[in-house]
């Protein structure tokens, strides 16, 4: 007996993007938005239309969008409803809380302390109404999203939701800011911008939670698209810690852009966990422009089934005595693929740079594939350090043996080693409850993967 075959999908080049942003849709916003914003969207649209999916020739062979089926996906186009809980206080232990479900704003709330310190938390639409000058400075800044990136420019041209957090000079928030996006409704695209602006000497921490909405599409259903920016402006001496837990549903394709301009003496810490989504293409741009500025970026990938994580990180040292420490780790089950691409640029002005880039992979299945491209472009040899290292290896047998001698069952020992490998990001999540949740997510994903790997009894 022969089984009827499903019709074959037409062959696609790995770089073909099936999602099309409609110019008419961009234009339709012009009536409701200020002219400078319309001009900004038009300029971005022109770049989006002209750019290839990957402009960096180092990476053109490592692009694969074939699992993204977005031809029928349409952006949300109605304006966001005003949140009902606008005046409600933020949850306990949180300085500011923004929550979105699909196209709806659920909450935009500040703690009493944050409110009195002058912290601003608003949707982008809200900010334009309230403070057009600030909105224009933050939204129309050409440095805040990479001009040579098609997907970043797509978000810039077509964004339909946005949130802005501003922490005034000198304000040091002890409690974290939490921004939650619950998305994944099939056939819909949510294009978002998130902007963080810290004044001189300000300090804050942010927990970004990307998760499934109640109606999220699963495997086999029409896909959803989520694009998100995180545009960070750090003035002199500012300090920001960002933790992101990406646990999007498996029917969602995610394009992420994080860009930070780091001023004199300012420091930025990224802790990024990538667990969910069918396909993730993410790019981080760290621009160390101020003298003695620093960035620490720790990123983990924990993949299962046929997920693809396409992660690029650019760190540009321009100021003197800047520090960049970047660490990426991927644990890959099933047929997961992970492309970790990192480029450190040390400009002629960047005397005294300390730079380290590490990319480490653990293939847990014969079908998994780990690609690491840790690159350096150095124009200034007067460095404290300019190094990178990379390794890919299986679970260390001697660690396994050691745990087994302590009475731990082999499967449990394997789990401990893999979760331990991913712990560096967990430990950096600034909110205890979010930290616990990330640990649970990782453990649950391991258990699911291990259960799937068990031969049927």
């Amino acid at each position: 007996m022969t089984l009827a075959r499903a019709p074959r999908a037409p062959r696609r080049a790995p770089t073909d993007l099936t999602f099309f942003l409609d110019e008419a849709q961009v234009e339709s916003r012009a009536a409701a938005e200020p002219d400078w914003l319309t001009a900004d969207r038009r300029a971005a649209f022109a770049r989006y239309a002209a750019l290839p999916i990957e402009t960096n020739q180092l990476y053109t062979t490592y692009v694969d969008l074939r699992t993204a089926d977005l031809a029928d996906v349409r952006p949300w186009d109605e304006p966001a409803a005003t949140p009902q809980s606008r005046e409600a206080p933020a949850p306990a232990g949180v300085a500011a809380f923004a929550s979105f479900t699909e196209s709806t704003i659920d909450a935009l709330a500040l703690s009493a302390e944050a409110r009195s310190a002058g912290v601003v938390l608003d949707s982008v639409d809200g900010l334009i109404g309230r403070d057009a000058r600030l909105a224009r400075r933050l939204l129309a800044d050409d440095r805040s999203l990479p001009l040579n990136d098609k997907l970043a420019q797509m978000t810039r041209a077509g964004w339909n939701r946005g949130v802005v957090v501003r922490v005034p000079a000198g304000v040091r928030l002890a409690e974290p800011i939490v921004i939650r996006w619950a998305v994944g409704q099939g056939g819909r695209a949510l294009l978002t911008r998130t902007i963080l602006d810290l004044g001189e000497g300000a300090a804050a921490s942010l927990v970004e939670e990307l998760e499934a909405s109640p109606g999220a599409a699963g495997r086999g259903e029409p896909q959803a698209l989520f694009t998100g920016s995180l545009e960070v402006h750090l003035a002199r001496g500012a300090d920001l810690r960002v933790a992101s837990i990406q646990d999007l549903p498996e029917g969602t394709v995610a394009f992420q852009h994080r860009q930070a301009e780091i001023g004199e003496g300012a420091s930025l810490h990224w802790a990024l966990a990538q667990l969910g989504a069918r396909l993730v293409r993410s790019r981080v741009d760290n621009r160390l422009v101020g003298d003695r500025s620093s960035v620490e970026q720790v990123e983990i990938v924990f993949g299962a089934e046929d997920q693809l994580f396409d992660l690029t990180s650019y760190t540009r040292h321009s100021g003197r005595d800047t520090t960049g420490i970047l660490l990426s780790k991927a644990a890959l089950m099933d047929a997961t693929r992970s492309y970790m691409k990192g480029l450190i640029v040390i400009e002629p002005t960047a005397v005294g740079t300390d730079s380290f880039l590490g990319e480490f992979g653990m293939n847990l299945s014969k079908k998994a594939r780990a690609v690491a491209i840790p690159s350096l472009e150095i124009d200034q040899p007067d460095c404290r350090r300019a190094a990178h290292s990379s390794s890919v290896g299986p679970i260390d047998e001697s660690q396994l043996f050691y745990l087994e001698t302590r009475g731990i069952l082999p499967e449990e020992a394997r789990k401990m080693i893999v979760l331990g490998f991913l712990e560096p990001v967990v430990a950096r999540v600034p909110l205890a409850s979010a930290q616990d949740r990330l640990r649970e997510l990782l453990a649950a994903k391991w258990d699911e993967g291990a259960a799937a790997a068990q031969p049927a009894a």
Partner: protein
């Protein structure tokens, strides 16, 4: 110290000369289908080789110029003479070599080298092998070492079996160009179980302004055999750009051991675009020992495809980039079989505005279980207007691979220079010593005469930069 300086000056003078050679046959400038056919006709080649050339020529036309490395668009293919034949036939003995060419080799030191330890000499003067001698004992043990053109005539079956199987014409634009217009190069065949007792050496020279050199080398090493091949290049200095686009194919059959050593010192107007690749079968070992100090731009990534179980790859790549130079070099190890091992060590020095780029590819394909691989790249920058790039590609598709990669970039430590100066060395000498030490991982793999030569080259480079 003056004595050393004089010695260095002497050698520079030795490399910078240009004899007026009467070419007996040459093609018109520029590349066309006619040129390709003409070259094949000059050589009275079998038809399959002509067809191979023509297919490659068509591919060359279709293939766009690579843009991932810069500056290749400056090559003017229409100004190049694709074939020159300086003498009528291959010379078997030294006495038959024309006087004028002999004089050139005298200056290169070939006779002396031969007296000492050469196993055989294949020397390329422009586009043809003009002088060639194989020692009697090599012939006795069945080792073939001759020019590629002669190899095609005398061992057509072996050449036909392997030609283009390691580096297909379609591999890249310049392998297509080479396949279309190749001339000269070496053909080496080592029969089963034979260990070649001494290194085989070939000297290559570009002479004649705008002479492209497209040599093709094929080395076939049968089961259990062992050979070491050495090439060293020198070229006179001219104002306009020369092109050198070579292809080297190595077939290392089961249990064999092949080492290929290169010291590349083309003059600083040469584009050196070389495809070097080896296929390593079961239990074989292939080693590329590759140094690049000359040329305006070198694009070369010696590669090893580990096709059989337990094969081993070892690549040492060294680059020195001075004023106006870009060394775009590196290595590739492609693991296609279980229990294979590879090691890549790269060292680069950039100075006086030069640019050194390491590009590497380490790939473990599905099915290549239990692979052990390591990559180490170190770069030294001698001043702050030079540049150093590192682009390693690591692609692992098995779950039990053990792979490590490390890279560092730095400058000469002021402490080390100070220490050496306190022992009576000048600053220049101290820096020279440190650079030589940095490159020692390469130098110690060379036969002694070459190690001395290489250290002199480095010294010469350093004198140019600091003296």
């Amino acid at each position: 110290m003056t004595a050393t300086r004089d010695l260095v000056a002497d050698r520079r003078e030795q490399f910078a000369f240009h004899d007026d050679i009467v070419y007996l046959a040459e093609t018109k400038r520029g590349l066309s289908r006619d040129t390709v056919e003409e070259i094949s006709r000059f050589k009275a080649e079998p038809d399959w080789m002509l067809q191979s050339r023509l297919r490659a020529y068509d591919h060359f036309l279709k293939r766009p110029m690579p843009t991932w490395t810069d500056g290749l668009d400056k090559i003017d293919f229409d100004r190049i003479v694709y074939y020159r034949k300086p003498s009528e036939r291959e010379e078997k003995s030294w006495d038959d070599v024309p006087e004028q060419i002999k004089a050139t080799f005298e200056r290169l030191g070939i006779p002396e080298a031969e007296r000492k330890f050469l196993a055989g000499v294949g020397a390329q003067y422009d586009s043809e092998v003009v002088y060639h001698s194989v020692r009697e004992e090599l012939q006795k043990i069945g080792v073939v070492f001759m020019g590629m053109d002669q190899g095609l005539k005398e061992h057509e079956d072996i050449v036909r079996k392997h030609f283009g199987t390691v580096v297909p014409a379609e591999d890249n634009k310049f392998s297509a160009l080479n396949t279309a217009v190749w001339s000269g190069g070496s053909f080496v065949y080592v029969p089963k179980g034979v260990e070649v007792p001494l290194p085989l050496q070939a000297y290559f020279r570009i002479n004649g302004e705008n002479t492209g050199q497209f040599e093709r080398t094929l080395i076939v090493v049968e089961e259990g055999a062992k050979v070491h091949y050495i090439e060293g290049c020198t070229a006179p200095i001219y104002a306009t750009d020369s092109l050198h686009a070579a292809v080297v194919e190595v077939v290392a059959l089961p249990g064999s051991k092949v080492r290929y050593t290169t010291i590349q010192n083309w003059s600083n107007d040469v584009y050196n675009l070389v495809t070097k690749r080896a296929h390593a079968y079961e239990n074989s070992t292939v080693e590329w020992i590759d140094a690049n100090t000359g040329s305006r731009k070198t694009v070369k990534f010696p590669s090893i495809y580990l096709r059989g179980e337990n094969a081993t790859a070892d690549i040492i790549s060294v680059a020195v980039a001075g004023k106006g130079q870009h060394q775009d070099t590196g290595a590739k190890a492609i693991h296609l079989a279980p229990n294979t091992k590879s090691r890549i060590v790269s060292k680069s020095v950039s100075k006086d505005g030069g640019r050194a780029t390491y590009r590497g590819h380490l790939k473990v394909s599905p099915g290549a279980t239990n692979v052990v691989a390591s990559v180490r790249c170190d770069a030294l920058m001698l001043d702050d207007h030079s540049r150093s790039d590192t682009y390693p590609y690591i692609d692992i598709q098995e779950d039990d691979t053990t792979m490590t990669h490390e890279a560092t970039v730095g400058k000469i430590s002021a402490d080390q220079v100070f220490y050496l100066m306190s022992r009576g060395l000048t600053e220049n000498e101290a820096q020279n010593l440190i650079v030589q030490g940095f490159l020692e991982v390469f130098t110690k793999e060379l036969p002694m005469e070459y190690a001395i030569e290489f250290n002199r080259l480095v010294k010469l480079e350093m004198e140019g930069s600091l003296g």
